[in-house]
């Protein structure tokens, strides 16, 4: 089985999922699972066929290691999330179209990662953008779709300009050849680099393009948020990789000003990445909505991934590639856990929830493991990748980035703990007393993701092996491992030992827990305040203003949302001005402008 069949089959699968949905909605939803699992199986089995080339219609493809890796991550997220689709079929406005667009955007990402020429790359980029644009408004916000589309389109139009410029200079669109002449011309290379990478920045959600993430991830249908945050954001990382590795940026910017050995052009982007980490962390701490919270954490994690890719070295780059995978599955798992809660309770507001562990313990465990990984705490995968990134940064002496990365790690303790404590732990609300546990079909993907997060945190050898291949293909030293020990310059990390230590600690606390007296459950309303009974459960919830003293430290922060909103409003006003000036219902106005143009151009022409 070859990759060209997969790409075509996925597009056909999208149409058949729509047709099946017409017959039965549930069957259509299961079709999305079958097709995405099939694609995953083919990808895993077809690893030996990396390097094959094929053409479909006028589009050309080549399967590279990195393309294979990215598509694997993407298909995994899509496949796991698709288990949830069937539960939302009766709640969705256009269930058939949802199934269609779901598979259609997945097919688009496959085409994107396998593209061997720049036009094919751009075609699939735009296909994914517009197909996902129409899924988002089926959720809670119409504005989110428009903002998502506009920001994406600013990025992709900039990239298109870059593609045209490259084609004008090199005369070819083949990705491997098109950028070659740029190495001799640092100035043009800078221009191309900056505009080409724009699509990547907008998609990863790097400051100041991050504003679409909380909006779109936060209000998309519950089954699409995991895909947006875990999957589609990674498309941006692919473009960022292309701009650095294929351009290749380090060679092209050899002669430019360097800071700690990093060319200024790249350093500038790294700073944007560092700002994203800090900003994403601080904003996530403030959020009242669990989905928005994870969305802001995606902004922060996007910063890590971007910085790592830009480093193009042995450690940080490997860390970034691994973090891409870890964040994809962890953020998908976290969004899925929230989706389960939303499915059963109908809300994602933190203050309206609580005590979910008593009703859906597996969901609690999934969320716990996912956020431990997101925060970069051992023994989960997220720890290994963040460790690698910080190792690389510290090794190069990039203290500013390393500080931001460190801040992000500490800050994430604050924000991941809050939904954990307020949604899953604490007191169960009276109206949630009779909630049912999660359905079986929801348990399957959550268990798989949980196992993966833990497995690659303990035994990352297989994953790092593939990443090593990517690094070799990109012409940099691969990350080294001996046994279960990752070798870095400033130290080694034996993930298995780390797991043992944590396992031992867990065991001891388990023994203590079992030996101690069993706790007695007290109902939330089983209390009174100053001899007064309170009947609104929300007032007993401690999640509101959870970190108020900390938030006060930056409550008057400047907001880029307001600034971008002001720009958008200015365009709006400009439209009104243009309208008032030129499009009048009085013919005299047109006659006036006609005379002005006539006189001005004629006089100008006479002067020449």
């Amino acid at each position: 089985m070859t990759f060209d069949i997969v790409v075509i089959l996925m597009f056909l699968g999208a149409f058949s999922a729509y047709l099946i949905s017409k017959a039965s909605l549930k069957a259509g939803a299961y079709a999305t699972t079958v097709f995405s699992l099939g694609a995953l199986a083919v990808l895993l089995m077809g690893r030996s066929e990396i390097g094959s080339e094929f053409s479909v219609l006028f589009m050309n493809f080549e399967v590279t290691v990195i393309g294979w890796y990215f598509s694997g991550v993407m298909v995994l997220v899509y496949a796991m999330t698709s288990f949830f689709n069937s539960f939302w079929m009766d709640k969705m406005m256009y269930p058939g179209s949802y199934n269609f667009l779901y598979l259609f955007s997945l097919a688009g990402t496959l085409g994107l990662f396998f593209a061997s020429d720049l036009i094919t790359l751009f075609i699939f980029w735009e296909v994914v953008v517009w197909s996902s644009t129409f899924i988002i408004p089926m959720g809670k916000s119409r504005r989110a779709a428009v903002v998502y589309y506009t920001i994406s389109s600013i990025g992709s139009m900039a990239t298109l300009y870059g593609i045209m410029l490259v084609y004008r200079i090199s005369g070819t669109l083949v990705i491997q050849e098109a950028f070659v002449p740029l190495k001799e011309d640092p100035l043009t290379a800078t221009v191309v680099f900056v505009i080409f990478v724009m699509a990547g920045l907008t998609k990863i959600g790097i400051f100041p393009f991050h504003i679409w993430l909380p909006l779109a991830h936060g209000s998309a249908p519950h089954t699409f948020s995991p895909v947006l945050s875990g999957g589609l954001v990674k498309m941006g990382a692919f473009i960022a990789y292309m701009s650095v590795a294929i351009l290749p940026a380090y060679e092209a910017f050899e002669g430019s000003l360097k800071i700690m050995g990093i060319p200024l052009q790249l350093y500038f982007l790294m700073i944007l990445g560092a700002i994203s980490i800090v900003l994403g962390t601080l904003m996530a701490i403030k959020q009242e909505d669990a989905k928005k919270l994870i969305a802001y954490s995606s902004v922060a994690n996007g910063g890590y991934i971007l910085i790592g890719i830009l480093m193009m070295d042995q450690l940080s780059f490997a860390g970034s590639m691994m973090h891409l995978f870890n964040h994809a599955i962890a953020s998908a798992a976290a969004f899925l856990a929230i989706a389960v809660v939303a499915y059963r309770t109908g809300t994602t507001k933190i203050s309206e929830l609580g005590g979910m562990i008593h009703r859906m313990p597996l969901t609690y465990l999934t969320y716990l493991i996912a956020i431990i990984s997101l925060a970069g705490i051992p023994p989960m995968g997220g720890f290994v990748s963040k460790w690698l990134i910080i190792q690389g940064l510290a090794d190069r002496g990039l203290m500013f980035m390393a500080l931001a990365a460190f801040f992000g790690s500490i800050g994430s303790f604050l924000y991941v703990f809050r939904p954990l404590a307020a949604v899953f732990l604490g007191q169960l609300k009276p109206e949630h007393e009779h909630l049912k546990s999660e359905p079986l079909m929801m348990k399957i993907p959550m268990v798989i993701l949980m196992v993966l997060i833990l497995y690659f945190g303990v035994l990352p050898k297989w994953l790092l092996g593939i990443i090593g291949e990517i690094q070799v293909a990109a012409g940099i030293e691969p990350v080294m491992m001996s046994g279960n020990t990752i070798l870095a310059v400033n130290g080694v990390l034996n993930t298995l030992n780390v797991f043992m230590i944590f396992g031992f600690g867990f065991l001891i606390s388990l023994i203590i827990f079992l030996l101690m007296q069993k706790s007695r459950r007290v109902g939330l309303m089983d209390t009174y305040t100053s001899a007064e009974f309170i009947y609104t459960p929300e007032l007993y919830h401690y999640a509101g203003a959870f970190y108020a003293p900390f938030e006060r430290l930056y409550q008057n922060h400047p907001s880029v949302e307001k600034f971008l909103g002001a720009i958008a409003w200015k365009f709006h006003e400009l439209g009104t001005v243009v309208n008032a000036l030129f499009f009048s219902h009085k013919p005299a106005v047109t006659v006036f402008w006609t005379s002005v143009i006539l006189v001005m151009i004629t006089l100008g022409g006479a002067g020449i």
Binding site: P137, M138, Y149, F571, F583, S584, K586, P587, W593, G605
Partner: protein, 477 residues
Amino acid sequence: MVNPVLLIALPLLLAFVSIVFKAYKNNLLVFGTLLNAGLVLTLNKGQYIIGGFQPPFGINLVLDDFALTGILIINGLFLVITLMSLEKLEGFASVLLVALAGLNGLVLTGDLFNLFVFLEITAITAYILSSASKEYRYAFNYLVLGTLGSGLYLFGLIVLYAVFGTLNMADLSVKMAAVDASQLVLPSLLIFIGLAVEVKILPFNGWVKGVYSGTNSLVGPLFASVYAAGMLFVFGRIFAQVIPLGTYLRTSLVVLGALTLLAGEVAALSKTRIREILLYSSIGQSGLIAALFLSGLVFVAVMQLVNNALSKAILFTVAGQMADSTGTDEGEELQGAFLEHKIAGVGFTIAALSLIGLPLFYGFISKMNLLFGIFYSDNYWLPVVILLGTVIEGTYMVRLLVKLWTPGDEGIVSEKAFATERPLTIQSSKVMGIVVLSVVLLIGGLLPAVIQDNLTDSGSLLDEVTPAYLFDLKGGQ
């Protein structure tokens, strides 16, 4: 061999017949448009002399690839739009036949004065059709400005005739090329403004707002796709082939085209009524296509023109139908309007996405080609304007589509219950027309060679002005 003059003469004849046999005028219209569309397919390229005088002394029709593409689009779209709105004709059948004759004449004629006559004929039918909205004031404004335009065109024509002594296009282009272009700024500019009124270039397009915003499902698509295509073909003929522009005038006019694009898109962004959004988008597209013609990029300009004509035919049909049946075309009032009209909605969506230039639709192919074309003429600022325009266009189109598909206030999950209660009806004839047009857009996007090969010929004649850098879709050649 079929003489292309039949394309002009037959509809005119049928128009007169239809006045005598009033009862059959709708049948005569259908007969005429079908006949014309059939005739187009049998035509042979060449020069056809009318009246027996050899050019440059007599009038001739020039049927080259450019003109052939033009009449193919005009007659094809005219047929589809007429068939879509047969019950909506309201006694305009005779006028429509005259309009068909005038539009064919515009594209076919090889003589500048003859062109003026056809311009007037076409314009008069447009004035009459624009009164269908019962907004007589706007129709009257259009009349005033249209007359101003044709007056200036005639003025420019007189100057050229006084200088060169000929009005034959081929003859005139040779004679004008021999003269320093800076000497011809005034007559060229006068002719430009004369055509710009109809082509909707800023700031000569004050009439568009009033006329387009009230159009029904017949007049809207006719104006926005057929009339616009006809006028743009004339514009391309004159400014890419006949009148040589000096660097100064060319640059100024390209800037004017680019400003029209930006102004149109920005104005559309600030609007909420569907037809207003579409009319400003039409203005923007006209500015873009005119700028391409003025830059000498005839082939890509024709591609974009075709894309615009096909998309706008769908968009204005649906928008006009919304206004006709619900009494409003305010986006806010029509939330979720496509819920009950999915096929028309999908057609509308395809047209809008194609207009933005998103892949899998024909608009993407034309947008890629025009960008390649501009880059290869070493113009690096025009693509910036076009891409900025694309971002703005995408924003308001997606905003509109999202509203029409998924109703509901912010913060609430979209539900069927929030959909508009206004009774939108779309006749099956319209749905069929929309399906046909959107299938063409899809085929053009997936198998561009089909449309590409038919269009390539329209560029081949103009190879001297159109450098051959066709985007061959094979990953760069």
